[in-house]
Structures are given as C-alpha cells and as structure tokens.
C-alpha cells in the first residue's frame, strides 16, 4: 500500500469506506426488518391466543376435549397452519397436532421463543389462562426466505456500488491530483543547472496554489545559496591557486639558481614537495566543494568499462610492485557503460591506492566487474590486509579521515571521500561491502542509466 500512487490509495480508501458503510447498513437493515417481522408475528400469535381463550370461555361447556373436531372448531383459523398444543394444569395433554416436536415444545418457558425444529425455525408462544396452557407456533420460513432475498440483493448490489464509488473516487482523485503531478514534473525539471526556472503558479489560491508559491520561495533561497557555493568555489580556486602557482614556480626557480648552496637544496626541494601536496589537497577540496554544490560536471561518453578497469589494474601493478602484491582481475569480455572515463579512473585509482597502502607485503588485490540483473554495473575492489575496525567503518567516507588517526600513512585523507562523491555524481553508490582480517571489499555500483 505504501508504494502506491496517492490516486489509487484515495480510490481504494473511499471504495473501502463506502463498502463498509453499505455492508453495515445492509446487514443492520436485514436484522431490523427481521426483528420487526418477528414482533408482528408475535402480536399475531398473541391475538390468536386471546381469541382462542375467549372461545374457550364461551364454549367451555360444549367442548369435548377428546374430540378432535370439537377442539378444531374453537381454534383460530389462520392462513398458514399453526402448531397447537393444549395442556391442562395437571399436565394432561388435551390436544396436540404435531407430536414430533412434543418434547422440545414442552420444555419452553412461558412467553415467546424461537424453536429450531430441524426442518426450519418456529416462533412459539406459551400462553396460560385458567387451567389451560396453549402452545401456539408459526413457521419462520417465510420471513427467513424474505430476508435471504434481501441479502442476495445486497451481495449482488454491493460490488456494483463499490465499483461505481471507486470509479467516481478515481476520477475525483485524478482531477484533484493533476496539479500536483504538474508541480512534480516542473520541479523535476528545475535541477542544479536550471535553478533560475520557477513553477507555474495556478490562478487559484487553494492548497495547490500555496504549495507552488512555497516551493518557488524555497527555490529562490536554494538558488541564492547555490550561487554563493559556486561563486565560493570559483573564487577559492583563483585565490588559492594564484599564490600556489607563485610558490611553485618561485621555488623551482630557486632550485635551478646557481647561487643556491648544495646544503640548502634539500630543504628547498622539501618545500617544493609540500607545495605539491598543498596543490593536491586544494584540488581535492575544490572538487568536493563543487560536488557539494551539485555542480560537478561529468564528461560522459560510452566506453568499455573493462578497458578502464584493466588500465587501472595495470597502473596499480606499478604502485604494488615494490611490495610484491599480486593483482588479479576478473572481468567479462566487454562491459560498455556511459561514464566519465577520467573520473571513473580517479575513483578506481583512489580505491586501488588504498588497497595497496593498507595491504600486507605479499598480499593480494582483486578487481572484478559485472552487470547485475537489474542492469546496474558493479565494480569491486578487494584487498587482503588487517581490515578496517568495525567501529570506524561508518566514518571512512568522511573528509580527512584516516584509519590510523594520524598522518603516518601518506596521502591527505580525502581519497575515499572523493571516490564517494564522484560515484554519486554518476548517480551511483560506493560502499564498504566487507572488511575483516581476510578481505576488505569496496563496491562501486553504477546505475542502469550508466549502462550502454
């Protein structure tokens, strides 16, 4: 139910509500009618009993209770046959027309009650007057069959009514939700690249109109902060890189200068190295600030992802060579995808760099790629090593995070975060799939849209 469109839900709920109401009313009506009918029957039986006792008083002397025809002559004449039983106060049965029910009838208390005879139900009244007790019963079959007709009608009519209500509800829901659909479509069009666009505001000042106004106001604020973020990253690039450039070429110039003392050369070279490091961090941070602002543009083109991975594996084998780490690739023949080759390479190299750094000498790195049944691409980078402590697994994608918590390992602690953001820019996801004392496995999942 949770994933269904609102229109379907509204229709379903209204049909359900109407159905329930109709069912309750219908069943209530049937029960009410049945009760009324039984009460009418009870009244009739009482009247008949009253008439009978009147007749008995009047003809008491000339009735011979043992003569069937005599008794019959004073019994009330009715449309349907009644169950009749007349007993004297000493228990002697004066008259009885249905012996088969004798025992159960005899047990009835005085007043009206319903008796199941096995062949249908009966309403039986027990009336006392003087020394006589009269049992008078009428079959309920007719009333019951009337009611079952009514129930049948309800069973056939209810679904039809529900269908009608559902149809009406669907039409109404669609009509009411159409502006919401329009707003959704328009909102989807307003992405980071078209933040200057606004939603069309309906002429009506109802909830939908207000929604459009509120969303537009939100887009205004969003555009402003987006603008500031982008502006910041452009300004920061310029402001940071100008001094970095001057530093770098200045130090290089100094290194080349014939007047530089040999003793100072190492110190100046170290300065140059730090400048490079600073540039690399600056690049990383600017890239992340672009990603944060949603302005990271990809240069998408169809390429064979296997080629990209194979190339990265080749590069990694160079990084891994000095530590005798073995690199194994498991790739299909071809896996075409629409990706930014440079950025995907950067993702993979960042992962491979860690896979080498945190590996044990003589360890292994395993690279694999496959297409999932849902069309997405899955690339795994696995390495042997001591693994990431489980309490730190949640933090590994945060900026400047290092497993060892100090700067003892080279790098600047942005690699995983950058790989994470670049994967996200592709609409994909980078996750730590496994990390224990045997293998640490990172998975890059690229969505179906990246599959060519």
């Amino acid at each position: 139910m949770r994933g269904l469109p609102l229109g379907v839900k509204l229709t379903a709920w209204s049909a359900l509500a109407v159905g329930m109401a109709l069912l309750i009313c219908g069943v209530g009506a049937v029960l009410f009618i049945q009760r009324e009918q039984i009460e009418a029957l009870d009244d009739q039986l009482r009247n008949e009993a009253h008439t009978f006792f009147g007749e008995v008083d009047r003809a008491a002397d000339r009735v011979n209770w043992s003569r069937h025809s005599d008794v019959k002559s004073i019994l009330p004449v009715t449309r349907t046959e009644r169950l009749v039983r007349i007993i004297q106060s000493d228990g002697h049965i004066l008259y009885e027309n249905r012996r088969s029910h004798a025992q159960r009838v005899g047990e009835l208390p005085s007043g009206m009650s319903t008796l199941d005879t096995g062949a249908g139900t009966m309403r039986v009244g027990v009336f006392k007057s003087g020394h006589l007790t009269l049992y008078l019963g009428a079959a309920l079959n007719e009333i019951n069959s009337d009611n079952s007709e009514l129930l049948k009608g309800l069973i056939v009519g209810l679904p039809l009514l529900i269908l009608t209500v559902a149809g009406g509800g669907w039409w109404l829901a669609r009509k009411a939700l159409a502006p919401v659909g329009k707003i959704t479509a328009a909102t989807e069009r307003i992405t980071a690249l078209h933040l200057d666009q606004r939603l069309p505001v309906p002429a009506t000042r109802d909830e939908i109109g207000r929604l459009a106004l509120v969303l537009n106001a939100m887009f205004d604020r969003l555009q402003k902060s987006f603008h500031q973020a982008t502006r910041f990253s452009a300004d920061a690039s310029h402001e940071l890189k100008t001094p970095l450039t001057i530093l770098r070429i200045g130090i290089e110039d100094l290194l080349d200068s014939p007047t530089l003392q040999a003793a100072d050369q190492r110190a100046v070279a170290a300065l140059l190295e730090q400048t490079r490091r600073l540039s690399s961090i600056t690049d990383g941070l600017l890239l992340l600030s672009l990603a944060d602002a949603g302005r990271l543009k990809l240069d998408l083109a169809e390429s064979d992802v296997c080629d990209i991975i194979a190339g990265c594996a080749e590069d990694a084998s160079i990084m891994a060579d000095t530590r005798q780490i073995e690199i194994e690739t498991r790739l299909p023949e071809r896996l075409s995808g629409i990706v930014d080759t440079g950025r995907l390479t950067q993702i993979l190299l960042n992962l491979l760099d860690n896979a080498v750094k945190y590996n044990l000498p003589g360890g292994k790195i395993r690279l694999s790629a496959e297409r999932n049944t849902d069309g997405s691409l899955l690339i795994r980078v696995a390495n042997t090593g001591t693994g990431i402590p489980s309490e730190k697994a949640g933090e590994i994608f945060s900026r400047f995070f290092r497993v060892n918590g100090d700067a003892s390992t080279e790098g600047h602690g942005l690699g995983l975060n950058i790989a994470h953001e670049l994967t996200r820019a592709h609409g994909g996801e980078l996750t730590l799939e496994q990390s224990d004392e045997t293998w640490t496995v990172f998975a890059v999942r690229l969505p179906e849209a990246c599959a060519a």
């Binding site: 070429i249 400048t275 543009k297 590069d315 080759t341």
Partner: protein
C-alpha cells in the same frame, strides 16, 4: 620566436617572462582580456599563453573571438579551476593545450615548445620512426620487422610519442594526454611505463629512440 603572455597576476606574469626569455623567446605581456585580443589580432605571434580568468574579457572569450577572426596562433590556456568541462570547452574553442595552476615552469616550457611545432600531430594510422613501426588499427608494433607485444597503456604511450616525434613531454603532460588523468596520481607511474617501453623497443638495438630529457621529461626521436 615571439610569445604573447596574457596573465593578470603580475607575479606569475613576471616568472613567465623571465623563464621564456631564458629559453630565448621574445615576450610581450598584457594584463587583461581586451588587450590580449587586440595584440593577438594585430601581431603574428608564434604562441599565446592565455590565462582563463582575467578582468574584462576572460580567456575563453578571447580565444573564441580570435579563432572567429581566423587567427590560428597556437594557444596554451592557463586556468585556476581545472574543471573537466572548462578544459573541454577550451579545447573545443581551439586551444592547443591546457594547463591547470599551479603548473611547473619546466613543463610549461616543454608544452610551449610542443605547440609551436604543431604540424607533428597527424591522424595517420601507420606510424613510423626509423625502423620502429606501428599500425594503430591492428594495434601491431614491430622494430626491424620483429613484432613487439605491448600492453594497453604501453601502446597508448608509444602512440602518443610517435605522433609527436622529437617533442619533449613532461610526466604531467603524458599523464594528461595518454592516461587522461587530470589529477595528481602521486606516483611514478609514467617513469615505470617509460622504463618498460624502453626495455621493449630499445634494449636490443644500437640506435636508442626513447630519451630522457633531464629535469623535463621524455621524448621519442633520434639522439641529439
């Protein structure tokens, strides 16, 4: 050779002027976009070093207007941002190369020398350097008729070097052009590939073709 430097940051412009003059180029300087466009149109330079972010008219716009006026002087773009989209835009507008700040002066000199020699980059599918042959389509390489087996990267590297014979390329330039890496790999990947390539194409031969140019990078060509 005469070079125009369009860079609004005076200190950087100063270093550029000094280094280019030491490399015996004649250098003219401008500090904004309008002046850059004017000079590019009025003077036939051998190359232009154009900063993207300048007051007035930005570098990309200067490049666009220049190319629209059929001024096809080689252009090396300098940019602070180094965004992929900006690099692609620059190359599509007709820039010959592109460098992100902070750059190394040696590398800049190598690239300036490369773009002033543009004729080399041909799109031929059969490449030849002395007795070293490459068929780009069938991906076959041989020297003195003897086939050489190269890996994916080694092949791309050799193809790039063979397309630009006698041109010195820095490590960063190779990284960008061959690997398409526009980020710092922080490794000696390029040197290792060059060593491997050298082992495969030069080791058994008297005449060496792949040379190290100290402090700058590598080139494919005949010994100096």
């Amino acid at each position: 050779m005469r070079i125009l430097v369009a860079e609004d940051e005076k200190k950087i412009a100063g270093f550029l002027r000094k280094a280019l003059r030491e490399a015996s180029y004649a250098v003219d300087e401008v500090f904004d976009g309008e002046a850059a466009l004017e000079s590019a149109i009025s003077t036939p330079y051998d190359a232009i070093i154009l900063d993207v972010m300048m007051p007035g008219r930005d570098g990309l716009s200067v490049l666009k207007l220049m190319r629209a006026q059929r001024i096809d002087t080689p252009v090396l773009l300098l940019t602070a941002r180094g965004e992929v989209s900006e690099r692609i835009e620059g190359l599509e507008l007709g820039a010959d190369d592109y460098m992100a700040k902070p750059f190394s002066m040696r590398e800049l000199l190598a690239r300036v020398s490369a773009i002033t020699r543009r004729a080399a980059a041909t799109r031929s599918t059969l490449l030849k350097m002395d007795d070293l042959m490459m068929n780009v389509l069938s991906r076959e390489v041989s020297r003195t008729g003897k086939p050489i087996h190269l890996t994916l990267r080694e092949f791309s590297l050799l193809e790039f070097l063979m397309r630009t014979p006698e041109t010195v390329h820095s490590r960063t330039s190779l990284c960008e052009h061959v690997w398409d890496y526009h980020f710092d790999t922080g490794t000696n990947v390029v040197d290792v590939y060059i060593q491997r390539l050298r082992r495969k194409i030069d080791d058994e031969h008297e005449l060496k073709l792949l040379h190290t140019v100290r402090g700058v990078g590598y080139k494919l060509g005949f010994p100096a």
